[in-house]
């Protein structure tokens, strides 16, 4: 209870106003709402870079013999005469993966919404440590800057794939990008990890200690559950990536042999002896797999909240949803080996990882079914955020199902590292998490900027994106089934793949259209920031606490005391025994509304 007492004490500090300068308000802000906006904008900018890169290599894949001036413009000496250099192709693929996974979908998604929603939805004045929170953002910013700078080094940016498997990533002799480009990549990621850890620790402490009176763990919105558990997974797994990166830095710069052994390259035997690249793979995927859920869980949390609000129904199976989040989180740390079935590790391990991997399908299936049941007999308000949430469930199912094939060690043998994998993970984590991000932006834009986004532009954005995403990734499964390897600069060296080229063109065309649709979003986002319609306090008639704060941002979130919580967040369309809504004429009951006469509290 001390936490609650603390929150109460804190409330009295807020009678007076701190004097804020431009710098403390907009740049080195310690206010979680501002930090969340900083995360969002930085994430979106990185997203633009990442998606633009994917367009460049999609052009190359669709028309390998064509000369594109755009290559010359963006790639300089690596795109001379409009011909893309094979090594820069690999660099584009590498940086696209890195940026999208870490900078957009980890920091941009989880960073934005954890920061915005944790204090607001649990009823806290701010994060446990505003200062660390600020540091966390600025470290993220610094790492983004370093990552962008790495694009301009002489020998090219890191090009060993986003998984940076050594020895390729360790030896500049093997590929140019493994020189200064790789060093910057590693430095940037090390800083990123520090940022992520500071952020995560803050989220965990805040959720545990700063919940308002009455906000028990079982009354937390599912968003908070998702952010909370995501932060825990991050704390468990990111340090392992840091170790992996540190050992790689040692191998690269100080002549150690953690990952290197018996190598003859460029006419020379290296002195390294006794290391193993498989060790790196284990360390990398110990983060790498949980990372998938670090990306996905916040998106699932966001959609849980949005689907319930817009369906005007409680989320179906709250306890099951929480249990699935916990189960997914636990299992996510013991399935990493399914990326390594054919890495040369002991096949027995493969069996174990197949078992755990297919287990993780169970909580995932439960979540999908629960979403569908939440829609059943709802009164669906199809706002853009709701469309993106439904879209997420759709891509989550489509992408998740092919995981049954890839997670099976036997079946993985022949589809491993083909386009089948690319299609699978883009749908299940890339597109799904992006949909979560978009859903969150549409839904909480009024909270972030005090204005509404244009819904019609939102609809256009959704439908073009939804059709485009399936258009890109659905046919991709089929070229994967043909045994087409990923990360090939062009497929023309294998005449057997000649009949796939039309499909590659189709995919690229869909990719261009889908990317163009994102411009609609950007336009809507920026325009609404300044000219959007002024938001009401609670535009979606939502139950959660963030909508009880004033539209105008203020330090400390609530004027006066922090409201107490009397019920769970999903009392939508709840009726009394006589069939009337709990509050007459209103199909929602805010968490701060005490139990009414003749109302039963359900024990969820």
């Amino acid at each position: 209870m001390s936490a609650i007492a603390h929150a109460d004490d804190h409330a009295h500090d807020h009678g007076h106003h701190h004097k804020e300068t431009f710098i403390t308000k907009y740049i080195f802000s310690q206010d979680h709402k501002m930090i969340s906006k900083q995360y969002l904008v930085t994430g979106l900018i990185m997203g633009i870079i990442g998606i633009a890169m994917s367009l460049l290599f999609r052009l190359q894949l669709a028309w390998p013999d064509h000369k594109f001036t755009v290559f010359e413009i963006f790639l300089g000496k690596f795109g001379e005469d409009g011909v893309m250099d094979p090594s820069i192709y690999l660099a584009l693929v590498t940086i696209h993966g890195t940026i999208m996974v870490f900078f957009v979908l980890t920091a941009g998604l989880s960073g934005t919404f954890s920061n915005l929603l944790i204090p607001l939805q649990i009823g806290a004045r701010d994060m446990a440590s505003g200062f660390l929170n600020m540091i966390s953002y600025w470290l993220f910013f610094l790492s983004s800057v370093i990552m962008v700078i790495s694009l301009f080094v002489e020998a090219g940016p890191a090009s060993a794939g986003w998984t940076i498997y050594p020895p390729l990533s360790a030896l500049p002799q093997a590929i140019g990008g493994s020189g200064a480009g790789m060093t910057l990549w590693l430095v940037s990621m090390a800083i990123f990890i520090a940022s992520s850890l500071l952020g995560s620790l803050n989220y965990v402490v805040t959720v545990i200690n700063l919940r308002t009176k009455g906000m028990s763990m079982t009354r937390l919105p599912l968003t908070i559950w998702a952010f909370f558990v995501t932060a825990i997974i991050g704390i468990v797994s990111f340090p392992v990536l840091l170790s992996a990166a540190l050992l790689l830095i040692m191998d690269r710069s100080f002549g150690t042999s953690f990952y290197l052994s018996d190598i003859f390259i460029q006419g020379e035997v290296l002195h390294n002896q006794g290391g193993s690249p498989v060790l790196f793979e284990h360390l990398f995927w110990f983060l790498g797999h949980p990372e998938v859920y670090i990306v996905l869980l916040p998106a699932l949390g966001i959609t849980s909240e949005i689907i319930a609000t817009n369906a005007r129904k409680p989320i179906f199976g709250y306890r099951a949803m929480v249990a699935s989040i916990l189960a997914i989180a636990f299992l996510s740390t013991i399935v990493w080996g399914h990326h390594m079935f054919i890495s040369g590790m002991n096949p027995f391990l493969g069996s174990v990882f197949t078992f755990t991997t297919l287990l993780i399908a169970i909580p995932s299936a439960v979540k999908a079914f629960n979403y569908i049941t939440t829609l059943w007999k709802g009164n669906l308000q199809l706002n853009p955020a709701m469309l993106f949430s439904i879209g997420l469930v759709s891509t989550f199912i489509t992408g998740g199902l092919t995981g049954i094939i890839l997670g099976d060690s036997t079946l993985d043998i022949n589809v491993h590292d083909t386009y089948f994998v690319v299609a699978h993970f883009h749908l299940v984590m890339g597109i799904s998490a992006l949909y979560g991000l978009f859903a969150g932006v549409y839904h909480w834009f009024p909270k972030m900027y005090g204005r509404m986004m244009n819904k019609n532009l939102g609809y256009v954005h959704f439908w073009v994106t939804a059709i485009g995403a399936y258009g890109v990734f659905f046919p991709m499964h089929f070229i994967g089934m043909a045994g087409l390897p990923r990360r090939y600069y062009k497929n023309t060296e294998f005449p057997y793949f000649d009949d796939l080229s039309d499909t590659n063109v189709l995919i690229t065309v869909f990719a261009l259209i889908t990317a163009a649709a994102q411009l609609v979003f950007l336009y809507n986002f920026i325009r609404s920031m300044f000219y959007g319609k002024k938001a009401e306090q609670n535009p979606w008639n939502s139950n959660t606490l963030e909508w009880t704060t004033p539209v105008e941002h203020m330090h400390g979130n609530w004027p006066g005391e922090i409201p107490s919580v009397y019920r769970w967040p999903y009392d939508y369309s709840k009726t009394k025994e006589n069939g009337e809504y709990v509050i007459a004429g209103q199909d929602w009951v805010s968490q701060i509304t005490p139990l009414q006469d003749g109302e039963e509290e359900l024990h969820h």
Partner: protein, 358 residues
């Protein structure tokens, strides 16, 4: 074809933009509701679009299968591949049943229960029985798949050199090519390490090891049909992956260690070439190549050669700039043809003495 596709897509995109602007205009005309929150009309339109979307997904699935079924690899050319393919088909059937039902329900509900002012949603927060059902069904289905998968997996990965009379071949990967080393008469590979690489001894075979003398190093993989092969894989520099899609075989090649994979080829190159699937496939590919050649010749360049099917081994782990062209031809042939071919190849001992006499 490409041009046509592009034109169609651009046209569709144009129409989309046009429709978009129309929608925008319409919505602005009757500006009674400018709340930016979905109203009944929005719900109605978007709900119907949701129904349309699931139809789109179904059609896309059907279209992809109808058009792209030729992309699927032909019947497996290895013994274990038959099991592999069966497991794949079972998994696919399950996946498509689940996909069909869940996508249908999801989008149908989004359509059916599209909001309307005055409608009341059902307060339905929990149902233990339902949740039990949809936990237990995946459990049972997945348990079946796991068990089946694991049996197949251990069959494939359990490599026993004592059993039968397996052919031992070393696959050697380096940036950006492959070599194969046959174990020779004694069917035992000589020891090797990259530290022994010197002159013609490009694979670093230990000259002092007598087992290595009769090894044969070649740049084309010949396999006798119906005899088990054990591949021992070694990399000279970075990670590679030996991917032989037609044999449902893949294993990473890791510097510093020896990885293994084993299979029994069951179809000769000739049998594969004359199979209905491959005849049709190669004809299609050659049509495409002829079309491309026309364009190339018109531009004053050399045309493409016509294609004849051969098995291949390709690198499937990012390994550097020329990763996309790191391949080796595989020829599966009768025992006699194989022996005749092998006889013509120089042994490692001969190669070394030829170098010494130079």
């Amino acid at each position: 074809m490409t041009v046509l596709l592009t034109i169609i897509v651009v046209a569709l995109f144009g129409i989309t933009l046009w429709q978009m602007s129309k929608i925008l205009k319409l919505s602005q005309l009757k500006n009674a509701d400018d709340s930016e929150v979905a109203n009944d009309e929005d719900n109605n339109i978007q709900g119907k679009l949701m129904l349309g979307f699931v139809i789109f997904i179904y059609l896309l699935t059907i279209y992809c299968f109808a058009t792209y079924h030729t992309f699927f690899l032909p019947e497996s050319a290895s013994e274990h591949g038959v099991e592999y393919d069966r497991l794949m088909v079972i998994s696919f059937v399950i996946i498509f049943i689940v996909q069909f039902i869940t996508q249908g329900l999801l989008h149908y509900f989004a359509y059916k229960y599209r909001g309307k002012k005055g409608n009341q949603a059902l307060f339905f927060a929990d149902n233990d029985r339902l949740e039990f059902i949809w936990t237990i069904i995946p459990v049972i289905v997945l348990a079946g798949l796991i068990i089946y998968g694991l049996f197949t997996w251990s069959d494939i990965m359990n490599i026993d050199e004592e059993e039968g009379d397996p052919l031992i071949i070393e696959l050697y990967a380096y940036q950006f090519d492959w070599r194969a080393r046959y174990a020779g008469e004694d069917n035992v590979l000589g020891k090797a390490n990259v530290r022994f690489i010197e002159g013609v001894n490009t694979l670093g075979v230990d000259v002092a090891d007598s087992y290595g003398k009769d090894d044969k190093i070649v740049d084309e993989l010949h396999l006798p049909v119906n005899r088990k092969v054990i591949f021992k894989m070694r990399s000279q520099d970075v990670l590679h992956s030996a991917y032989m899609p037609f044999f449902r075989a893949q294993m990473n090649v890791v510097p510093g260690m020896i990885t293994e994979f084993s299979y029994t080829p069951t179809k000769t190159t000739e049998e594969m070439r004359t199979s209905d699937f491959m005849v049709e496939k190669v004809a299609t590919i050659n049509d495409i190549r002829r079309e491309k050649s026309k364009a190339l010749v018109a531009a004053g360049e050399e045309g493409l050669e016509s294609y004849e099917f051969d098995y291949y081994l390709l690198c499937n782990k990012i390994c550097g700039a020329s990763h996309y062209n790191m391949q080796m031809k595989i020829i599966v042939e009768s025992e006699e043809d194989y022996n005749a071919w092998l006889k013509e190849q120089q042994t490692f001992g001969e190669q070394m003495s030829a170098q010494a006499s130079n």
